[in-house]
Symmetry: C2
Subunit: 238 residues, 2 copies
Amino acid sequence: MLETTNERAGMPAVSATQGRSPGNAGTQRRKAGRPSAAVLDKAGITAGALKLISRKGYDGLTMAALAKQLEVAPSALYNHVAAKRDVLLLVEDHLTALVDVSGFGTASWEQAVRTWAWSYRNVFAEHTPLIPVIAVLPVTDAPQTLAMYETVSKGFLAAGFPQERVVSSIVALESFIFGSAYDVTAPEDIFESGSMAESTPNFTAAVRSSAGVPGRPADVAFELGLEALISGLGALRG
Amino acid sequence: MLETTNERAGMPAVSATQGRSPGNAGTQRRKAGRPSAAVLDKAGITAGALKLISRKGYDGLTMAALAKQLEVAPSALYNHVAAKRDVLLLVEDHLTALVDVSGFGTASWEQAVRTWAWSYRNVFAEHTPLIPVIAVLPVTDAPQTLAMYETVSKGFLAAGFPQERVVSSIVALESFIFGSAYDVTAPEDIFESGSMAESTPNFTAAVRSSAGVPGRPADVAFELGLEALISGLGALRG
DNA sequence: CCGCTAAATGAATGCCGTTCATTTATTAGA
DNA sequence: TCTAATAAATGAACGGCATTCATTTAGCGG
């Protein structure tokens, strides 16, 4: 629980320990037993996971690869997390802190929601494998996520939303945001009907004419749905 | 490559082939080599996967378990699907055919969308592990899915939607539907803030007052968002 | 000083998707 | 009608995965 941020500053401890034979590429082993300075902590694990994700994607995020990244044996990770799910949780909470909630309290409700929703979608579009985790995640375990909900709730209440509709309104928006995050990852030709085009004339024509609309398709659809939700939900204010 | 559709009609061939000694629990071995009557086909694999999913959930859907369910060696499956992803695809396309599109052509656009969206959400709420697959799935590979899009597109066009907005409107609705399907699976106490309740007074109060609203929380939020989308998108008709 | 606990290693486990060589049956073509 | 190609099954094997366990070592509290 300490989360001592200091030990994450420099190189991992092993780098100072090794290098006795110059020219060794840094693959030197650490002996068994507890090291004098702790090598791992949750912040370091989070940082290592993020680096691994950005370099190799979520397929590359394995406990073995994460251990290697941190220059540690895989089993050492289990002194700090109970399972891989906990690593994903750390990453999720870290990312949620990046979502822009600054509009609440400074801008109109409509504009604050716009900023928040676009930011939220953009952050998780790069991290869709986390979405199934988030969906089942009790907020208790994710303090930053809880903080985000607090700010957003306060904004909704200040805008005149009746208390009992705040959570369901946020959930509706969030559902749209998560679904739209997936949409960003879809391949461009996802709607190419190929050989069955003749049997689906209406859909095929609609897809064709969509091609002329400026902007990324996922952005166009998100804009459309978000504005519909904002005006529809906004009408329910007291 | 044949994909002879006829062999998909009846029960999987295995049911007719086995059980030579009645009372035998079906653990009988088959010799190596091609059997006279084909044991596997895509319809049988789909049915086996669905049975497995309903009994053991998606964690229980492994290639080994599926093979056992179909009384076949695991490697035999790879004569019919290239990878496990293909099995999920078969399941997805099967489920999409269960989505109710009957409102399009018979009811108002609003009512047709309502029926379609609720049905779509309910079907996939039980199958959320498919959602990441659907998101990346080119429709070419899923004929039933393509058929659904055709019916829905036709309904939107008939309701007066400009052609170039049909696809993005459907995508926006679908994003909301997929996100909401996840929401159904969330545990009841997902918003219990626990020990941090004092630092999140607005959110905690909102969660408390939500408890008084009748209906399942996921349903309330879905209703709210869906009606907002219907009125917001409906305003864009020509 | 001594024992407990924390944090590391390294070996081992069981499951998973997938591949490959092999066997056998069907089918197409000369 | 023989024959070669192909299709569909078995069974053994593979590498990778998350996770567990015994062991070693270091620091801390009584």
